[in-house]
């Protein structure tokens, strides 16, 4: 039975999981959740994710939420098929993948999310972007990317010389960031820029990016 993902293609967290599906070449069905109608806050969806956030995964009797937990599960369950995203045959490499997944979750994401929200989501909601929030977040993101730049000087990808779930998790937010003036934080750092061009040109992500349209941008 195919995996069922409840979400919407333009959502960063949904597309994180979709990219993982494509890398693993697994069959799946995307069940749309209408965010504008508040469907994710209604009881039928809250059964799947009590926090009322997309996406949620159904695999037979199993229901999972939190995009990074879902990708870890999919990468583990299908470790024998498609591209190995978690280096499951090498404990040390697998551990480094997890380190950089946590870095994305706790360092990168908190800095980049407000920029994307203010620049692309707020206008859709009829609000004007708060430039002070953008500026503070760009500064924060720059510091995180300084560490990335040093790291990527020594290795081709974050966890080592292999593409992994750690890199993949960065794709959706960075894709949207690159459509804003804040894209300069990536362009100014040569190794980060080369890494971004590399990971965003993978066929799995290109397919997903086609569905990532935010207010026509």
């Amino acid at each position: 039975m195919a995996l069922k993902l409840y979400g919407t293609a333009m959502s960063t967290c949904t597309s994180r999981v979709l990219t993982c599906f494509h890398e693993k070449s697994v069959d799946f069905e995307l069940v749309p959740v209408d965010l504008f109608a508040g469907e994710h806050k209604q009881p039928p969806f809250l059964v799947k994710n009590p926090f009322g956030q997309i996406p949620a995964l159904e695999d037979g009797d199993l229901t999972l939420f939190e995009s990074r937990a879902i990708t870890s599960y999919v990468a583990e369950k299908f470790k024998g098929t498609g591209y190995d995203l978690i280096r499951h045959e090498n404990l040390n490499e697998a551990a480094l993948v997890k380190v950089w997944m946590e870095v994305e979750s706790h360092q990168y994401n908190p800095a980049i999310a407000p920029i994307v929200y203010q620049s692309l989501v707020a206008p859709l909601q009829g609000k004007s972007p708060d430039q002070s929030i953008i500026d503070a977040s760009v500064e924060k993101l720059g510091k995180v990317l300084d560490v990335y730049e040093a790291r990527l000087t020594g290795t081709r990808y974050l966890a080592g010389d292999f593409y992994s779930l750690a890199d993949l998790h960065h794709l959706p937010y960075t894709y949207y960031l690159m459509k804003t003036p804040a894209a300069s934080v990536v362009h100014e750092r040569p190794h980060v820029k080369a890494w971004w061009e590399d990971i965003s040109s993978r066929p799995a992500f290109k397919k997903v990016a086609e569905g990532m349209k935010f207010g026509g941008k």
Binding site: L62, E66, R68, S72, L91, N92, V99, S105
Partner: protein, 313 residues
């Protein structure tokens, strides 16, 4: 003996942070509860950090053999000096191999998450102090092992890691058969459920509870003025998260199911400060299921030891 110390020095010097650090750390490593207590003692010799009580030589070796995870033969190559007894070489490597180094003070929430995991897994470790008041976490030697300049960092004989939750996962997977075997689940389905709640902790519970702990417990001690707006906003956020936990914990004894796991453990550091060092403990105790869950998880021996370590640090 002197040559032994020299060998150790060479080995440790390969590690810049250790080189920086080994002034004198007293530690007690309790290996296999009372069966085989390995005591690593403070030493005046700068680079000598391990000294095993003689009576435990045999047992120590046995522990290593049983576990079968340590003692790569390749590690012994450096010991080609004939005047060092064979037994001593073996002990040295056995003892060295069981060391896991955790950099950072137990007072830190992220450090204590790692300590609780190591204690649950019955994996011996050594704490290397990082004096954050002196900015040691921002110095070049430390940044080599933790490029973001935060605590904790972690090293063992084969790897250097950071980010507390990934250190915990590594320890759980490397020592799957030690201590609390179900801490990170025993199959992919259990693991997925645990990961899901660890993410909920990291993304939903952590930010508001961490902000409250900072504002209410740490800011006054650091003479930083409290931000009442932030306190109110984060309390509201945490209320909503704990309402979801209340329902979840009405369905199952622990977050990921009917067993205590890493998902519950990961809540202990912030939860403990919130309940015991702020006036917001009622957020937990006023909720029936959350209160019951909190009493149970904070009463675990592993966590009580971490709290003791905080007090004595």
């Amino acid at each position: 003996m002197l040559r032994y110390v020299t060998d150790k020095k060479q080995l440790l010097l390969q590690n810049p942070a250790v080189k920086m650090k080994f002034q004198a750390v007293t530690l007690k490593v309790r290996q296999r509860s009372s069966r085989c207590p390995l005591k690593i003692v403070e030493s005046k010799a700068k680079y000598r950090l391990i000294d095993l009580p003689e009576e435990h030589y045999q047992k120590a070796n046995k522990v290593v053999d049983i576990d079968g995870v340590f003692g790569e033969d390749g590690d012994r190559k450096e010991d080609n000096n004939e005047d060092i007894p064979e037994d001593y070489k073996r002990i040295k490597h056995s003892a060295l191999a069981i060391l896991q180094w955790v950099y950072g003070p137990p007072l830190s929430t992220a450090v204590s998450r790692v300590l609780a995991t190591l204690l649950e897994k019955d994996v011996p470790f050594q704490i290397i102090p990082v004096d954050m008041s002196k900015g040691e976490h921002k110095k070049p030697d430390y940044l080599k092992i933790q490029p973001f300049g935060q605590v904790p960092a972690f090293q063992d004989e084969s790897i250097s890691l950071f980010e507390s939750r990934s250190i915990c996962r590594y320890v759980c997977e490397k020592y799957a058969d030690k201590g609390n075997k179900g801490l990170y689940g025993t199959n992919p389905l259990e693991k997925a459920s645990i990961d899901q709640w660890v993410e909920a902790e990291g993304q939903s519970f952590g930010p508001p509870s961490g902000a409250l702990v900072f504002q209410l417990a740490f800011a006054p001690r650091m003479n930083i003025p409290q931000d009442q707006g932030a306190i109110k906003q984060n309390e509201e956020k945490l209320q909503k998260v704990l309402d979801i936990y209340e329902r979840r914990l009405g369905e199952s004894r622990f977050l990921a199911g009917d067993e205590f796991t890493f998902a519950d453990l990961s809540h202990l550091p912030n939860g403990d400060y919130l309940v015991n060092a702020t006036d917001k403990g009622h957020l937990f105790t006023s909720r029936e299921n959350v209160g019951r869950w909190w009493n149970e998880i904070s009463d675990r021996e592993s966590w009580k030891k971490v709290v003791e370590m905080r007090k004595s640090s």
